[in-house]
């Protein structure tokens, strides 16, 4: 599967779940200050396994939560933002595995995990092989897929 399809799934789910639009971008992180949310999920079937990762600025995580819940961003706490980012990745994973392997294949997905990254760690993530970068609402989003 092409990286282009992966990007398309990420952007489509971002639109349908969070009502946000993304565009591909090679621009550097616009804001070097602040925390980033780094979520990961693994999937496995009888024939394939892999891992998806998604990294977003904390502020975008809370905005995603606010959009999903239909509340003012000031009402969305960082904890709710973390929850929303994990669920976003969960949906991306379900969509992507169906497109990659077809709807007959049954996958076991792990519960998404999440860690906080600082700017230095974000930079390392952005330079990792297989990572692509999007701009969502003007903020950088990193996504990567590893399939075995």
């Amino acid at each position: 599967m092409s990286n282009e399809t992966f990007q398309q799934v990420v952007m489509e789910v971002m639109e349908r779940f969070a009502f946000m639009f993304g565009e591909e971008s090679d621009a550097p992180a616009p804001d070097a200050n602040g925390d980033y949310l780094h979520a990961s999920i693994s999937f496995q079937s009888e024939t394939a396994k892999g891992e998806l990762r998604l990294t977003v600025p904390l502020s975008l995580g809370t905005d995603i939560a606010a959009n999903v819940l239909g509340v003012d961003p000031s009402e969305a706490t960082p904890a709710i933002g973390e929850d929303a980012v994990k669920e976003l990745l969960n949906i991306i994973c379900g969509d992507l595995t169906a497109r990659m392997f077809g709807k007959a294949e049954v996958f076991r997905l792990t519960v998404p995990t999440l860690t906080r990254l600082d700017t230095k760690q974000w930079k390392a993530c952005s330079e990792a092989e297989g990572t692509f970068r999007l701009l969502v609402e003007g903020r950088p989003v990193l996504a990567s897929l590893a399939v075995k």
Binding site: V13, A65, V68, N90, C93, D95, K103, A104, V106, V111
Partner: protein, 143 residues
């Protein structure tokens, strides 16, 4: 008459979205109970009257599939409809769940219309709800 709903998902965001969407969709909702995994959900079912369960698959401690299997063993699945709301899109998985007794399956993300259609399909449009809030949804009891 209003339906008592149990929403089972480890994501608080999704539980809130399902709760809000049910009301937006015009489903006649009574009490809404929430659980973060299948084990918590079974405890709610044992102590509260529930008319319909909306459950995720992929949860820690006890998955939605394990919860459905447990409900089947105790017999409660015969009288308490379960709708799975999940990110998984495998048609094989959906058929397996329906064979286990799950009434309907809905993909995330969903629209209010999707949720309304599923509620109508499972509960019947305009059908009177059970005796909301009266008795726990114990095995063998008919709501």
């Amino acid at each position: 008459m209003a339906y008592n709903v149990l929403i089972v998902d480890d994501s608080a965001v999704i539980r809130a979205v399902v709760s809000k969407t049910l009301r937006i969709a015009g489903v006649d909702v009574g009490e809404i109970f929430q659980a973060a995994n299948g084990k918590e959900a079974l405890e709610v079912m044992a102590s509260k009257w529930v008319d319909i369960v909306f459950a995720d698959i992929n949860m820690p401690i006890m998955t939605g599939i394990e919860m459905v299997e447990q409900m089947s063993i105790t017999g409660i699945l015969e009288t308490l409809p379960v709708v799975i709301i999940s990110t998984e899109r495998s048609e094989t998985r959906i058929e397996q769940l329906k064979a286990k007794g799950v009434r309907a399956y809905l993909n995330k993300p969903f629209t209010p219309e999707n949720l309304r259609d599923v509620a109508d399909q499972v509960l019947g449009p305009g059908k009177d709800a059970g005796a909301a809030g009266k008795e726990p949804s114990k095995p063998g009891e008919t709501p």
